[in-house]
Symmetry: C2
Subunit: 84 residues, 2 copies
């Protein structure tokens, strides 16, 4: 069993109103050190071994469903041998 950790982030050039709102809240709470906040998604996908190379499968899943590649980037890392 493998655990794939996927990070989906808005592309640099895309405005992030949710992040801006969180930044304002942090400033209002006196965390004035905060310069910028960007908010993305974090997915943990538990998978059985795949017939095709895992990288290929994960990339395809991200491109087809998990990320909107027009406005989002994704990265992932794989942890092997998860026992739950």
């Amino acid at each position: 069993m493998m655990k794939v950790k996927i990070y989906v982030t808005l592309r640099e050039s895309v405005l992030d109103p949710q992040g801006t709102a969180v930044k304002s809240s942090l400033h209002a709470m006196n965390y004035t050190e905060v310069q910028d906040v960007r908010i993305g998604k974090y997915l943990e996908v538990t998978m059985e071994p795949t017939e095709r190379p895992l990288d290929e499968v994960v990339k395809e899943m991200c491109e087809k469903l998990l990320a909107n590649t027009v406005i989002e980037d994704f990265e992932y890392e794989v942890e092997e041998a998860v026992t739950r």
Copy 2:
């Protein structure tokens, strides 16, 4: 300047309907290897150096605003010297 990467995840015992929906979609797309999907938030916070220890500040921000510690856990890692 420091970049803090914060991962907010639902606690193990908390149901994740969004994750379940994504799992169903992946199965419908024939990614039957997928066993489980959990969805969380990923935040990138760019910060100036803090007077107090950074760990203390980040933990406090998470507990007060970024995570709901009743149902969510958080982890973070710090990357130093970001130039943008």
